[in-house]
C-alpha cells in the first residue's frame, strides 16, 4: 500500500493512541471525582525525570524504574489531593487554580534545577521497526497503541466490575447518595487523583522514549489532555476515545496534506469550536443536564 494514505492511517492511529494515553489520567480523575486536575502536565513531567533519576542514580533497570515511578507519582497524586485540593473541595475554580499552581510549580522547579540539557532520555522497550501497510513504523509506537488499548479496556473493567471501581462511579454520579451507602467522598477523590497521576506516569514511560524529556512537554501534556477531554466530553470514556481518534487523525491529515505547522491549530481550534457549538463535548451530558434543570 505504502504512500501518504497508508502513512496517514498508520500514524493517525499512533497519534490517536498518543493523545488517548496522555489524556487518560486527566479524564479518569475528572470522571470519577469531578476534580479537574490541572497538575496533570506537571505530574507527567515529574514521571519522566523520576524514572531517569532512578535509572541513573540508583541504577535500576528501566522496567523496575518505570514501575517504581508509577507508584511514586500515584502517591504524589494522592498527596496533591490531601494537601492542596481537599481544603478547597467543592469550589471548582479554586480546585482548578490550586492544581494548576502545583503543576506549574513542578515544571518550573525542574527548569530552575537545571533539567534543561539534552541528556534526559528513557530507553525504548524494543529497538527497530516493522512495515505496516507498507509504512515503516517503529516498535515503540506500536507499543504505545497496544498500551493505550489495554489500559482503556482495563480501566473500563475496573470501573464496571470491581467494588472499588463501582464505588468510585457511584461517587461520581451522586456524592450524597454514595455517602449514604458508606462511600467516603474524600477517600474516593484521593484514590481517583492517585489513579490519574499513576496513569500520567504510565503515559510518560511509553511516550518519553520517543525523544528527550524536555521541560515544555509538561505544558504540552496538559494542553493535549484538555483538547481531548473537551472534545470528547469531560466525563465520558467513549467520548475521550472518539476525541482522541478525531484529533489524532485530524492532526495527521493536516500534517500530511496541509502542513505540520497547522497541527497545533487543530488542537486549539477543536477546543474553541466544540465549546462554541457543543459545550458538553461530543458525548458529554453535563451542559445538557444543567440546561434541562
Amino acid at each position: 500500500m505504502g504512500g501518504l494514505l497508508a502513512s496517514t492511517l498508520v500514524y493517525g492511529l499512533v497519534s490517536s493512541a498518543t493523545l488517548l494515553l496522555t489524556a487518560l489520567g486527566f479524564s479518569l480523575t475528572f470522571g470519577l471525582s469531578g476534580v479537574a486536575n490541572f497538575a496533570h502536565g506537571g505530574l507527567y513531567l515529574l514521571s519522566g525525570f523520576t524514572a531517569w533519576l532512578l535509572m541513573t542514580h540508583l541504577h535500576l533497570p528501566f522496567l523496575a524504574a518505570a514501575a517504581a515511578t508509577v507508584v511514586l507519582v500515584g502517591l504524589v497524586g494522592a498527596l496533591v489531593y490531601r494537601v492542596v485540593v481537599m481544603p478547597v473541595r467543592g469550589i471548582h475554580l479554586a480546585e482548578v487554580i490550586s492544581t494548576f499552581a502545583v503543576g506549574v510549580a513542578i515544571i518550573e522547579l525542574f527548569r530552575w534545577l537545571g533539567f534543561t540539557t539534552y541528556d534526559y532520555v528513557l530507553p525504548v522497550l524494543v529497538e527497530d521497526g516493522i512495515d505496516v501497510l507498507g509504512v515503516t513504523v517503529d516498535w515503540q509506537r506500536l507499543i504505545i497503541v497496544a498500551v493505550a488499548l489495554v489500559l482503556t479496556l482495563a480501566l473500563w473493567a475496573f470501573t464496571h466490575w470491581t467494588k472499588i471501581g463501582l464505588a468510585l462511579r457511584g461517587m461520581s454520579q451522586d456524592e450524597y447518595t454514595a455517602l449514604s451507602v458508606g462511600i467516603e467522598s474524600d477517600w474516593a477523590a484521593m484514590l481517583s487523583l492517585a489513579l490519574g497521576a499513576g496513569l500520567s506516569a504510565v503515559a510518560a514511560m511509553v511516550l518519553f522514549p520517543l525523544g528527550i524529556i524536555s521541560i515544555n512537554s509538561g505544558y504540552d501534556a496538559l494542553l493535549v489532555a484538555l483538547a481531548v477531554t473537551v472534545l470528547g466530553g469531560l466525563e465520558s470514556t467513549a467520548g475521550m476515545i472518539i476525541g482522541s481518534l478525531v484529533l489524532g487523525f485530524a492532526v495527521t491529515l493536516t500534517g500530511n496534506y496541509v502542513g505540520p505547522r497547522w497541527g497545533e491549530v487543530v488542537y486549539l481550534g477543536a477546543i474553541v469550536v466544540v465549546l462554541a457549538v457543543r459545550p458538553s463535548g461530543l458525548l458529554g451530558k453535563s451542559k445538557e443536564l444543567e440546561e434541562r434543570v
Binding site: 505504502g2 504512500g3 501518504l4 502513512s7 500514524y11 499512533v14 497519534s15 498518543t18 527548569r111 537545571g114 534543561t116 540539557t117 539534552y118 541528556d119 532520555v121 530507553p123 527497530d128 521497526g129 509504512v135 515503516t136 513504523v137 517503529d138 515503540q140 520517543l210 525523544g211 528527550i212 524536555s214 521541560i215 515544555n216 512537554s217 505544558y219 504540552d220 495527521t252 500534517g255 500530511n256 502542513g259 505540520p260 505547522r261 497541527g263 497545533e264
Partner: protein, 416 residues
C-alpha cells in the same frame, strides 16, 4: 536605646554610601538572554570566564585607571513556548534601567527578540554585542539606518553566512555523490525560516530538486509526515534546522523509519559531545553544524585556550556539553569590548562604537573583524573571519568535515 540607634545611624549611612561606591568602580556588563536554554547558560558561563580572566589581570585599562568587569544577568525566557517578544524586551529593559550596564553582551536568543531589541538599544545608546540571535534582518537594519543602529554588533554566525556554509557542504555532496534531491524540515522560527529560505534559493540555483520544505512549531514531537514524503520522493539528503530539545525525536524517527537519506543540517541536541550516549548511536552518520567553534575548537592557540579554560573553570563534564552556538562568540565579545574600552580610554558609547568597528584580533571563533553592517563575517577560512564547523558522527566520534582547511575527513555515507 535611643542613643544606641542614633550612634548606629552614621554607620548605616556609611555602609549605604560605601555599597554603590564599590559597585561604581566596576564596569557592569548586562547579559539579558534565555537562561533556561543550553545556549544561554553556556554563553553566560563563557562571558563570565572572559570576565574572570580579565579581572585576574587587574581589569580593563580605562584611561589612567584599571577597572574590573562585573556581569549582571536576567532570564528573558524567550525560548520558552508561549513567551511573547514583549516579555523578553521587558526583562531586558528592567536590567538596563536597574543595573545601568555600560554594555550588553550575549543578548537575544530568538531572532524575533533581537530585531526588536535593536530599537531599544537605539534609544538607550549603549554597545550591544549579540552572540546568539541569527536573523539577517540585523544587517539590513544596521545597513539601512546606520546612525540609529550603530550600537549593535554581532559576533555569532548569522543565517546568511550559515546558508553560505551549508551551500558549500551541499555542493560537495552533489559533486562527490551525484545527489540532487533534498527535503527540508525546520523549526517555525525566524532564524530557521530565513536559513531554509536562503538555502532553497541557493540549492535550486545549483540544480537541486527540493521535494518539500516543512515548518514545525516549537515543541513538535512527530516528524513522520515529512519523513514519509522524503522517503517516498527518494530524497537523498534531509536537511533539518532545529534548536529545540524535541528535535531529538527527529533523529530517532528518521532512523526507525529507515529513511534512506543523509541527514545533514542542525539539530541542537545532537551537537554536544554527550549526544552519542544520549541517542545510543542513532545519530551515526548524521552531519551536524556547530555554528561557531567552541565545542570543537579551531586549530589555533586562542580557540584551544577557550575550550581548555572552559573545562578548567567549569569541569570536564560541562566542557563536553558545550553547545554549538553562543559560547565562543560570547567569550570573544567580552575581549572585544575590553579592547575597545582600553583604546577609547572611556566608556562613552559613541567612542566605543568607533573602537569596536576597528577590532581586528584573533578570537575563539576565528578572526574577529566587523563588516559595515557590524557582523563578524563567517566563512571557511578562520584567518579571514569566523568559521563554522560541520562534523559527522562516526562510531561515537565527531569527525570534522567542514571547512576544508581544518577537516579531518570527507562526509561518508556508511550509515545510510
Amino acid at each position: 536605646m535611643r542613643r544606641s540607634l542614633a550612634a548606629l545611624l552614621p554607620a548605616l549611612g556609611m555602609l549605604l554610601a560605601a555599597g554603590p561606591a564599590r559597585a561604581a568602580d566596576n564596569i557592569v556588563l548586562g547579559v539579558p538572554t534565555a537562561l533556561g536554554t543550553i545556549e544561554g547558560q553556556d554563553s553566560l558561563r563563557a562571558a563570565q570566564l572572559a570576565v574572570k580572566e580579565i579581572n585576574e589581570q587587574g581589569g580593563v585599562q580605562v584611561g589612567a585607571v584599571k577597572r574590573k568587569l562585573e556581569i549582571v544577568s536576567i532570564d528573558t525566557r524567550e525560548a520558552e513556548a508561549g513567551v511573547p517578544v514583549t516579555d523578553a524586551l521587558a526583562a531586558m529593559e528592567k536590567l538596563i534601567t536597574e543595573k545601568k550596564p555600560a554594555a550588553i553582551v550575549v543578548g537575544a536568543f530568538r531572532s524575533e527578540v533581537l530585531v526588536s531589541a535593536m530599537d531599544m538599544i537605539a534609544r538607550v545608546k549603549i554597545p550591544y554585542l549579540c552572540t546568539i540571535g541569527m536573523s539577517p534582518v540585523f544587517d539590513d537594519k544596521v545597513g539601512a539606518e546606520y546612525e540609529k543602529y550603530k550600537y549593535n554588533f554581532r559576533l555569532s554566525l548569522s543565517a546568511r553566512y550559515l546558508v553560505g556554509n551549508l551551500g558549500k557542504t551541499m555542493s560537495f555532496l552533489k559533486t562527490k555523490y551525484g545527489f540532487d534531491k533534498v527535503y527540508f524540515l525546520h523549526q517555525d522560527v525566524a532564524w530557521a525560516k530565513g536559513t531554509i529560505g536562503g538555502l532553497t534559493k541557493v540549492m535550486e540555483g545549483a540544480g537541486w530538486k527540493v521535494l518539500g520544505s516543512d515548518p514545525y512549531p516549537t515543541g513538535s514531537r512527530d516528524f513522520s509526515a515529512s519523513l514519509t514524503k522524503a522517503k517516498a520522493g527518494g530524497a537523498q539528503v534531509v536537511v533539518p534546522m532545529f534548536d529545540m530539545p524535541e528535535s531529538g525525536v527527529l533523529v530517532k524517527q528518521a532512523r526507525s523509519m529507515k529513511v534512506p537519506a543523509l541527514v545533514a543540517g542542525f539539530i541542537s541536541p545532537a551537537a554536544p559531545g554527550t549526544a552519542w550516549a544520549t541517542f545510543k548511536g542513532d545519530i551515526d552518520g548524521l552531519v551536524n553544524f556547530l555554528f561557531e567553534p567552541g565545542a570543537i575548537p579551531l586549530p589555533s592557540a586562542r580557540s584551544r585556550h577557550f575550550t581548555e579554560a572552559y573545562g578548567k573553570a567549569y569541569g570536564e563534564e560541562l566542557k563536553n556539553r558545550i553547545s554549538g552556538h553562543g559560547p565562543g562568540p560570547s567569550y570573544d565579545a567580552v575581549y572585544v569590548l575590553a579592547g575597545a574600552i582600553t583604546r577609547a580610554g572611556s566608556l562613552d558609547a559613541d567612542a566605543l562604537v568607533k573602537e569596536i568597528e576597528k577590532t581586528d584580533m584573533e578570537g575563539a571563533v576565528g578572526r574577529l573583524i566587523f563588516t559595515k553592517t557590524h557582523s563578524v563575517p563567517y566563512g571557511d577560512d578562520p584567518k579571514a573571519g569566523g568559521a563554522s564547523i560541520a562534523f559527522q558522527w562516526r562510531q561515537g566520534k565527531r569527525v570534522v568535515v567542514f571547512p576544508e582547511a581544518i577537516a579531518e575527513g570527507n562526509i561518508e555515507l556508511h550509515a545510510r
